[in-house]
Amino acid sequence: MTPETLLETLRKLQEPKGYYFNKDTEMTLALMNSLLENKKTYGYMSCPCRLASGEYEKDKDIICPCVYREADVRDYGACFCWLYVSKSWNEDKIEHQYVPERRPPEKVI
């Protein structure tokens, strides 16, 4: 699978739910590539911006889309990676700010 086909597959699933892909295509495709790399490395598409343990059970919360996405997109307009964003974020109606990590630190091993 190429980063482009992964993006189009995910777009069909996620946009109807109100989660859009960052309009910065270069960044979005780089993240698609990282998701494919993680799939190869770990066997699942772990969040490219977080340290995976390599154990499925321990990484479940950060398998993309991660469980923190909903709150982050609600509060900041973007997920931690800036991969999934809200419509207003893509329309530059809200500031593109750093999204603080909300994953509990004890989960990082």
């Binding site: 960044m27 911006c49 977080r50 990676c81």
Partner: protein, 85 residues
């Protein structure tokens, strides 16, 4: 004298890539480590070191002057100010 810069990164992380590019584009010398490529005791030790400066252990974590100052995430303005770019 230029600050000593240490960048803890993940090989797959876009904010890490962007931070590295920003430093390179501005001619800032830095050291970096891909924590996802480490294993065993070395990995544990590096995670502990990062947590001392950034309890969330998120990436990138950028240490200036051996941790005198810590910049969490790729924050262009903060880096610009701290490094006098």
């Amino acid at each position: 004298m230029q600050n000593k810069v240490m960048l803890y990164a993940l090989s797959t992380c876009i904010h890490c890539k962007n931070a590295k590019k920003y430093l390179e584009d501005n001619g800032v010398e830095y050291e970096s480590l891909y924590v996802d490529k480490l294993e065993g005791d070395e990995r544990k030790a590096v995670i502990e070191e990062i947590k001392k400066h950034n309890s969330a252990c998120s990436f990138p974590t950028i240490l200036l002057d051996g941790g005198e100052r810590v910049i969490i995430g790729f924050k262009r303005d903060e880096l610009k100010e701290a490094l006098g770019i």
